[in-house]
Structures are given as structure tokens and as C-alpha cells.
């Protein structure tokens, strides 16, 4: 186990180094530069050069890269545009994006597990077909459109919930904060659960059709009894994998949804940073998201091994070979 963790950790660090280089390089290949976008119409070439020298964007790319990496370690990365420390910008947005993603994920799990299992068990009856069709629909509709529709009904028409924004005092008034997150959470949850229902449905079908369930049923278990006794653990392995990925993507979903709901979170920050070519902000944010995804994958793997000891045996065999 220690060996496994050490190996995975090494792979994690290698992936991060690679990811940081790719992020950095791709951004430098993007047309448009921060200096021009910051200064705007009316400024002269000399002034552009002054700003480039100030930001260090006139240095060779490798030098810009190393100084960025160095700045990651002491947390001194600063925005090209507002000149604020990037770490402060990011942490100030977490109280919005973190609860948003986590709540959306929890809601999506609560919706999709029962629906997915029902769709799998009753796959040939009306209920199963309807659930399947709904999840197809949820996949096909763009997330922002769902958001717009919800805003139109619940905020503009019925006036039950705010159309967007977040209380200026943040979480000081938890009631107001929560109401402002309801629609965004539902929007992301709808999109996420559509994906998850489909995975859980097919995992359920695999289990239902398996030999061990048939055997269990022939021994007198009811369908649900057999599933509870033998199905859960077996079906959980692929489902945990997809849940892990979805938890990470819920952060990405926030990017789109925050824009629709005018929430000043990480997504909005990323969007304005890309538009203004505020590279340090984009780099740190994307790298942070990469870390989250990689760590999530790592945790998923650990969890899967805990659920299914056979995985441990195979990978141990693979490692020693």
C-alpha cells in the first residue's frame, strides 16, 4: 500500500509539472497580449514596452516560466492587471464556488443514484424508459439554457428566488446566501445528474444481468434483496470512478453557470482573466483545477481498492512483475 501511494504521488507530481508547462505554453501561443488589453486605445508603442518590461513579458519564455514556478512556491504570483496577489483573488472567490460545486454534486448524487438504479432495474418498463429519456434530454440541453429557463420561471415570473448575484456581505446572512445559490445549484445538478444517471443505469444493468444475482435470486432472494446483498459493492466500483470525475467537473460547470447567474466566483474570475489575458491568474487557476482533478482521481482509486480487494491483488501483482 505504501509503495502504491508513493508511486501514485510521484506520478501526480510528474503530471503537475507537465500540466504547468502545457498551460504556460498554450497561453503564450494565444493571440493577444495582456499589455495591449490593459492599456487600451490611445496608448503608444513606448508605453506598451514600458508595461511589458514591468510585467516581465518581454523576457524569454523559459525565464517567464521559471519565475512563475518560483512564484508558486512563495505564493507571490500577482495579477498582470489588478496587481493583486493571485492567491488572494482565488481564496476570496472560494466561499462562492466551493459551496456551489459541492452542493450541486450532493444534489446530483441524491437524484441520480435512485433514478439510475430504477432505470436499470426496470429498464424494459415505462418508468425505466422515461428516466432514460429524461437523462438524454438533460444531456442534450446546454447548461446555460437550463439556467436561463430557471431564471425566467422562478425569478422573473414567480419572484421566488433572486435572478442572480450573491449577497455583498457574503455568508454573514446565510439565508440570503443560500437562496442566491439555489438556482445555480439546481442548474449544475440537472446537467450532472443526467450524466450520472446513465452511468449508474448501465452499472445496474451489468449487475442485474450478472451470474451472481441470478444465483442469489434462484436461492430465493427478491430482486432488491439480491441487489442489496451482492449488487451494491460490485456496482459501486465503476460508479465511484464516475462520481469522482463528476465532482471535479462540477467545478468546471461552475464556470458556465456563474456567468449566467452573475456569481462572483472562480468561474467569473477565470473568464475575465482569459478575456484580459491576465496570464498569472489563468495559470494558477487552471493548475489548481488540474490538482483537484488529479487528487480526485487518486482518492477514487484508493476508494475503489477499499471497496474491491481484488483490485489490490491485481495491481500488487502488476507492480511486482
Amino acid at each position: 500500500m505504501v509503495r502504491f501511494i508513493a508511486l501514485r504521488l510521484a506520478a501526480l507530481i510528474a503530471s503537475l509539472v507537465l500540466a504547468s508547462a502545457v498551460i504556460f505554453y498554450v497561453l503564450r501561443k494565444l493571440p493577444g497580449e495582456s499589455a495591449g488589453a490593459t492599456l487600451g486605445v490611445g496608448t503608444t508603442v513606448d508605453q506598451l514596452d514600458l508595461l511589458r518590461a514591468e510585467l516581465g513579458t518581454d523576457l524569454p519564455v523559459w525565464q517567464q516560466y521559471t519565475s512563475w514556478i518560483a512564484s508558486l512556491f512563495d505564493g507571490s504570483t500577482t495579477s498582470f492587471i489588478s496587481r493583486e496577489p493571485v492567491s488572494e483573488l482565488i481564496t476570496s472567490k472560494l466561499p462562492i464556488t466551493l459551496p456551489l460545486s459541492i452542493a450541486a454534486f450532493v444534489v446530483a448524487v441524491l437524484i441520480s443514484i435512485p433514478l439510475g438504479v430504477i432505470a436499470g432495474v426496470y429498464r424494459e418498463s415505462v418508468v425505466g424508459v422515461v428516466v432514460s429519456a429524461l437523462s438524454q434530454l438533460g444531456l442534450a440541453i446546454p447548461v446555460f439554457w437550463v439556467g436561463l429557463l430557471l431564471v425566467w420561471w422562478f425569478a422573473l415570473r414567480e419572484r421566488w428566488l433572486p435572478s442572480g448575484g450573491f449577497p455583498r456581505t457574503g455568508w454573514e446572512d446565510p439565508g440570503a446566501a443560500i437562496t442566491s445559490l439555489v438556482l445555480p445549484v439546481v442548474t449544475i445538478a440537472i446537467a450532472m445528474s443526467s450524466v450520472m444517471v446513465r452511468y449508474i443505469r448501465s452499472a445496474t444493468i451489468d449487475v442485474v444481468q450478472s451470474d451472481y444475482i441470478r444465483t442469489a435470486r434462484s436461492l430465493g432472494y427478491s430482486m432488491w434483496g439480491a441487489l442489496a446483498r451482492h449488487g451494491l459493492r460490485n456496482g459501486a466500483v465503476p460508479v465511484v470512478a464516475i462520481l469522482g470525475i463528476e465532482l471535479a467537473t462540477s467545478l468546471l460547470g461552475a464556470v458556465v453557470v456563474e456567468n449566467v447567474f452573475a456569481l462572483p466566483g472562480l468561474g467569473t474570475l477565470l473568464l475575465t482573466a482569459v478575456t484580459g489575458r491576465d496570464f498569472p491568474v489563468v495559470q494558477n487557476l487552471v493548475l489548481l483545477l488540474t490538482v483537484v482533478v488529479l487528487v480526485m482521481n487518486f482518492l477514487v482509486e484508493l476508494l475503489q481498492r477499499a471497496i474491491d480487494p481484488r483490485l489490490q491483488a491485481t495491481s500488487a501483482a502488476g507492480a511486482s512483475a
Binding site: G42, T43, L50, P162, S163, G165, R168, N259, A262
Partner: protein, 507 residues
Amino acid sequence: MNAKLRLAAVAIATSLVLAACGSSGGSDESTTDATATTGAESTGPVVIGSTNEPTSLQRNVGGSSGISETTTRNVYEGLTSIDDSGAVINTLAKDVEVSEDGLTYTFTLQDGVTFHDGTPLTSKDAAWSVSEIISEESQAARANDLRVITDIATPDDATLVLTLERPTQSLLFFLASVTIVKDGDKENTSDNGTGPFQLEEWVQGSHMTLVRNENYWGDAAKAEEVSFQFYEDETAMNNALLTGQLDLVIQQSNPDQLAQFEGNPEFVITEGNSIKKFVWTFNNKEEPFTDVRVRQALYKAINREAILSAVWGEYGQVIGSMPPVSEPWYDESFAEIHAYDPDAATALLDEAGIDGLEFSIQYVAGDTNEIIVQQIKSDLAAVGVTLNLQPIDDATWYEAVYTNKDYESTLMDHNNPRDVLWYANPEFYWQYDNKDVQDLKVASDEAATEEEQIEAIHSLSEIIAEEAPSAWLFMAPQIRIASADITGFPADKNAEPFYVAQITRTN
């Protein structure tokens, strides 16, 4: 004179519209309820929606219009200001004396001005703020216009003397963009403003809150607190206005959004002049745009009325040169010089020996620009010219078009006051080099009187209108929407600041 009359006419028209909205509201019973409900909340801050967020509080970096829109005149004041009618007025300067040769400006500061932290304002602070913008390190857009200042002196605490290299009529106008902060400060803070409001907080990506300065040297602001709420998405902003989270939206850039407010007595829509011009520019150093006939032909080939009405319907104003309606050298007749005439366009292209012309237009992708370029494309197709559409984003435009001048033609909206003078700069991205225009710019600077200045810039505008280095399409309308109980904001936008000291909620 003409321009002033026109302004008055617009003002009257606007007030009629306002009155009409008001009376239609009163005649409807259900409205009375609505007004009563909003009246109950009248104690809260006035919340203003905007999509133009400041980028930084650092001074003299670029021409961020977001920071001047929200804070200039409101929080930080200049020696002079441009008021809502577009006129230059004294602000922190109580009095300005200009020497006979026009080379020495002596400013006497207002009495009893203190910064928001209580420190008294002295001429040292003013001297610092002016010296900072013209310093070598300055990255301010107006730096070059002000570098005509050769000496800054402070004979006493209340007097500032600026000495110029040559006379310039525009000095007081350009000084309006230089806000005065404390000696040595390089950043705008909560402490170093002198305006009717104090900066309380700016949360990037969210909002900026201003609170009334109770020790203001002039007339106190009407509202106790005004805050700007920033949006990336215009639909989200208008939804907030519809649901009462906002009191006012500074500018609508999309006419499709208006329908939901029109005829609703809870809201007032104002239409005024803006300084936002949509300009289709040719690269004047590139073949075949070096040939004046080609540029004129292309300008005549497009139907500006149709473009404007496709974008804005009834609103806005077709233009034929750079100046917007509010500038004193604006002339309605410019729009007639290259009026829509496809036959004349074809004839001019033949004369220039151009056949099967094909070139590209780079434009910042977005709804409005998309409509415009599609119209231009089909108008040009009618005279046998092929236009290739190249949508890009803002930052790419600055690099490829503005900085590297690597383009054939481009569409951009220009928002700076008096930017017609940029046609006198051959280095500017349109690369238009005309000696007469450059001489007229100098003449306008050195003019002895304001009338002479106006005349020179008028002639300059006329020459470019004739020569068509760009094809000016239209001036966008300034459309603001406010909750019906909000008053005291100007309908026009004649300068960058959005002055909020007169805004108030009435019951």
C-alpha cells in the same frame, strides 16, 4: 451655436419622453401599488448596474474607462471636469488665469478642500498628480497630450503654475482626466480622494461601494450611498433590474433587451447622445486602400441607415465623420458626403481600375458587430466586392490590429472624447497620413480662441469625411434604464465619468 440648439432640442425631447412615461404610469391603477412598494425601500443605497468594471486602482496605467466612469468626479476630482453637457468646468481649481501668450496657466485651488482622511489639499498634491501623468514611466492614454507641460511650480499652498512648451486650447480639457491625489500616491485609495463620495470598497468581479463624503467642500451628494454592481453578462444585469436588485443600468448595448422594459411603468428608459462611434477602418498604408477612390467607393457602397436600423431600430444617429453629436465640431452634413450610392461606388471602383476586389474585416465577435459586418458584406457584394469575415476577441484586436497594424480592414467602436484628433497621428492604427489634417490639429491647439479651435477641428473633420480613411457608421444611442423612482442622472454621455452626486430616490 448649432450644436447647442441641438442639445437643447434633445434635452427637451428627453424630458417630454420622461413626462410621457410618468403620466402613462399615473393613469394605471396597478402602478400606484408598484410605486408604493418601491417607495418603502427608499432608504437603501442606490445600486447601479454596469458591464464596465474597473481593472485596477493603480494610476496612470492605460485608459481604463471603468475606473473613470465610476470614480472620476465622484470620488477623485481633477482641477477641471467635463460636466454632463460636455463643457469644461473648474472643479478643484477655483480660478484659472492664462497668460497672454497662452504659455502660463495659474490655478488657484478651492478653499477648505480636504482629502477623505482629513488631510488638507495643497498645491503640492496637485503638482504631484500632474507630474505623475507626464512622467516617463506613465502609461496613461492622455500622457502625450499633456507632455506639452514643461514646468510645474507651487508658489504657495493654494497656487499651481503650469508652463507650456507651446499654447494649447485643449489643456483644460485634458486636465479633466487627471485626478488629484495626495503627494506621492500611485494608487487610488479610500483616503486620497476629494470628491462628494468616498470609496468604501471595491470587490473585484462584484461591486464598488461609495459613501457620501459629509465634509465635502462643495454641495453634498444627494444619496448617502451609491454602489456599482458589475456584470459580465447583460442579460443577468437586466434580470437584476427587472427583479429590483438594481435601480439603474448605465448603458444598454443590446436593443433586444429593451422590449421587456418598454411600456412598463415601473421603469424609465432614457435615450441620449453617446460618444460611442462604430467605425469601419481601412489600413490606409495597404493597397488598394492607399487609393482615396477605393475608400470612397467602399464608403458609398454601404447603407448606413440600414445598418443602424438593423442594430438599433429607431435609436442612434448615422455619422459621416468621427465627431459624435455632442462635440462642438459635429456637423450633420458630413453624413451626406458619401451617402449611400452603389452606382457611384461601382463607377469609382472602375475609375480606380479595381476589379474583383476581395479583402478581410477583423472585428471583435459579438451580437452587434455580427449584424454590422453581415450588412457590410452584403452591401459590398452588390458592388462586386468580396468581404471575408474574421471574428477575433478584444485582446487579439489590440495586438494584431492596434499594435501590429496587421489587418486590411477592421470594425471597432471608439469611446474617447475628441478622438477625431487621432487622425492627425500617422502612427495610429489606421495609418492615415495627411499633412493638411496634421496642420489643422496644430492650428486647433494653437488657436487663440475657442471659436478658432472649433473651426480648425471642424475643417479637419471635413477633410477626413471627404477622404474616408475610415467609414464611420453611426453613433450608438446612450440608453439607460432606471427604476421610476430614481432621478438625477444625465441622459447623455459626453465624457467618461458617470456623475452620481445628483442621483436620488424620490417617492
